[in-house]
């Protein structure tokens, strides 16, 4: 938020809501509707404004889309724990693809190193292991990002409805509606939600210009963000960046409604489990032992 925006918003506080609406007749600025309630023309205007904003900020062309969910698609993810070696390539590919802040550092994927003897024991897990030394004997690796829960506690807890589940199962956030109260972070059992404690810094030369309104467009300080299964990619038929980069093929992704999809194959032929099943969040993110 720059000084002008702040002063505007103060003025807006003072003015009656309708008066603020008159100052901003396009409904695309501070006094606008929720993303889901916007007319198509307003969405187009907002996307155009975002592209202009990115161009000014980074001196680089960016395309901000808002492609809707495809009918007949429900995305699912399966991760093979027996293959993952903990190299963290997925973490860094995700940062670059999704324009995560480099300073302060935000990682949507967190890889935990665990002792084989203990099984999945979060209390003894280590997220700060040295990735040069992997895989360490006696250890296995558990990457965790948003589990895209069917019964998502974050969606339930948001006081303003700024986060919701899309028809294709992706839990998204409207960064322009989020008030930054962090209820969703308290509610998430997987530490999947991240807050912009400061204005995020993304180097212009590393900016990924292919953006989605609900995904990897550059965030502002004071809002929450999280993995969207690379919404900007998967809705145009591409794999998420983490699936593409994984050197050992531990990551499988696809349409749960398509009987021929890779993820469906895993569900049929392997035995899968979900994290913290006792919390009844019913994730669309499965783990399995492929070997």
């Amino acid at each position: 938020m720059n000084r002008r925006e702040f002063l505007c918003s103060l003025a807006g506080c003072a003015a009656a809501a309708t008066a603020a609406g008159c100052l901003d007749p396009t409904h695309t600025g501070w006094f606008r509707k929720r993303f889901r309630e916007l007319a198509p023309a307003d969405v187009a205007a907002i996307l155009e404004g975002l592209e202009r904003e990115h161009a000014e900020r980074f001196g680089k062309e960016a395309q901000v889309g808002a492609q809707a969910a495809l009918p007949g698609v429900e995305f699912g993810y399966a991760l093979d724990i027996s293959r993952c070696v903990g190299c963290r390539r997925c973490v860094y590919a995700c940062v670059e693809e999704n324009n995560q802040s480099r300073e302060p550092q935000i990682h949507w994927i967190r890889v935990l190193e665990m002792e084989k003897e203990r099984g999945i024991d979060f209390a003894e897990a280590d997220a700060y292991y040295d990735a040069e030394q992997v895989p360490r004997p006696g250890h296995f690796y558990l990457p965790i990002s948003c589990q895209q829960c069917r019964n998502a506690p974050c969606v339930k807890s948001c006081p303003v409805g700024a986060t919701w589940q899309e028809p294709d199962g992706i839990v998204t956030i409207d960064y322009d509606w989020c008030i930054g109260c962090r209820c969703c972070m308290a509610a998430c059992p997987y530490g999947a939600r991240h807050f912009n404690w400061a204005e995020p810094a993304v180097p212009a030369e590393e900016l990924n210009p292919n953006m989605h309104y609900l995904g990897n467009r550059v965030r502002r300080k004071g809002v929450v963000e999280k993995c969207t299964f690379c919404i900007q990619r998967v809705r145009s038929g591409r794999y998420p960046a983490c699936v593409e980069v994984c050197p050992v093929g531990a990551r499988k992704f696809g349409n749960l409604l398509d009987p021929d999809s890779e993820v469906r194959y895993v569900l049929e032929h392997k035995r899968v489990f979900v994290l913290k099943a006792e919390l009844n969040t019913r994730p669309r993110f499965y783990y399995f032992y492929g070997l």
């Binding site: 997220a127 006081p159 008030i179 962090r182 308290a186 059992p189 530490g191 807050f195 300080k221 004071g222």
Partner: protein
């Protein structure tokens, strides 16, 4: 129309009252204004740089602000609950107890609102919480419910206090048909705000430390200790500095009730400690973080033991009739209770609930100076609001600030006795 004009006089006269005072009054106000300026500076810094000026991070995403908020909701709730013993024991100054309790509630809710406001990342979007232009997510979001409950409670208390004071100002007796139902609504409302606030934590299955049914009862028990502690001290100050009459027996009775509340609070804590330590599941780690530390991570351990010691000592002081009737021990007990509950709610609820985080990581949260300065500023705002309101209310209750019977100018001193039982 006449009522409206009288109300105008009432407001103007109130303004004159707060602008008059002795050196102690002005020094006190000066200190508060200084603290508010300090807090405003800290907030400006936070707005400019973001919440990175706090010690909160993704692992511990709520901290000192939300802890203070929770503590103050308790103060607001308990202040009004004092109405119950005032009626049951038929204390002489019932209306006065009601008014002082509600003034404290108004000040506490003001601070609650400010603590939430400084905690959110995008304060300029607060209007998203207003049903209509915004999109308040009720019934599913507990924070949504809390917004409704706290604002409703604030309005209710403002209406009651304004009605009572304005009626007294006009030398009339409060109409029981209006006054009694409002007070009767405010009692369940007081329980309600603290219960909803407890549910805000309680409903999060991701956080086993909070996801225990004992949380809401514990909130109420601890609030019933901290809220009256402020009022006890205030009553003694008013008794000494004005002609305000408050019976010793009322003060001692409040102290006795606080002892029972503190017993319940300590008992419920003991029940939790037993369950966690005996069953020794993975959830124990949060309590260990509070009382023994986990490995080398023990930043809040001394505060938690201090809280326990203060609470236990205050319990004993208020339990024994000899000590609770002794002016020194009575006030020491109030202070100990305040500190004990403040540490318990401010540090002992939010921080261990989030440490270790949901993936087992321990991040040692401890508030930064910026957070502490900002919080001090908010407490100063609350103290300022409370001071000004109490000053006006006392003058009215003592009959020193009343409408002249002829109507017209206000501020005339009338030799009226302290109004008794309504």
């Amino acid at each position: 129309m006449l009522g409206l004009r009288n109300f105008g006089h009432f407001l103007a006269g109130s303004l004159r009252i707060v602008l008059r005072g002795g050196p102690v009054y002005w020094t006190w106000l000066g200190c508060l204004v200084l603290l508010i300026a300090l807090g405003a500076g800290a907030y400006a810094r936070q707005l400019d740089r973001g919440l990175i000026t706090t010690a909160m991070r993704d692992q511990v995403s709520w901290g000192f602000y939300i802890g203070n908020f929770t503590f103050l909701v308790g103060v607001a709730a308990a202040a009004v609950l004092l109405v119950i013993p005032a009626y049951v024991y038929n204390w002489k100054p019932i209306k006065e107890v009601v008014i002082l309790g509600e003034l404290l509630a108004i000040s506490a809710i003001t601070m609650c609102g400010l603590f939430v406001a400084v905690d959110i990342g995008r304060p300029e979007r607060f209007w998203h919480l207003i049903p209509g232009p915004g999109s308040l997510n009720v019934p599913s979001s507990l924070l949504g419910w809390d917004v409704l409950a706290l604002n409703g409670y604030l309005v209710l208390n403002l209406v009651i206090v304004t009605y009572l004071l304005f009626t007294l100002y006009r030398n009339r007796r409060p109409d029981k048909r209006i006054f009694t139902p409002l007070v009767l609504i405010s009692i369940p409302a007081a329980v309600g705000i603290h219960t909803v606030t407890a549910f805000l934590y309680n409903g999060l299955a991701a956080r086993p430390f909070w996801n225990a049914s004992i949380l809401a009862p514990r909130f109420l028990a601890s609030a019933f200790c901290s809220g009256p502690a402020v009022l006890l001290i205030l009553m003694q100050i008013l008794r000494r500095t004005t002609r305000f009459e408050i019976q010793d027996s009322a003060i001692w009775k409040v102290a006795e009730l606080m002892a029972y509340a503190m017993f319940l609070n300590l008992f419920l804590l003991g029940a939790e400690v037993f369950k966690e330590y005996y069953s020794d599941t993975e959830h124990l780690v949060h309590m260990r973080y509070m009382y023994t530390g986990v490995g080398a991570h023990d930043p809040i351990v001394p505060y938690m033991w201090a809280s326990l010691a203060c609470s236990a000592l205050a319990f004993l002081l208020f339990l024994l009739p000899r000590t609770r009737r002794h002016p020194l021990y009575l006030n020491l007990g109030c202070l100990l209770i305040w500190v004990g509950v403040y540490l318990e709610k401010g540090m002992g609820l939010v921080i261990p609930g989030m440490t270790p985080d949901t993936l087992g990581e321990i991040y040692e949260y401890f508030p930064t100076w910026n957070e502490i300065a900002l919080s001090a500023g908010i407490f100063a705002v609350g103290a300022l609001v409370f001071t000004l309101l109490v000053k006006i209310a006392t003058r009215i209750m003592l009959g020193e600030f009343r409408l002249r019977p002829a109507g017209g100018a206000s501020g005339a001193a009338l030799p009226t006795a302290v109004p008794g039982v309504s």
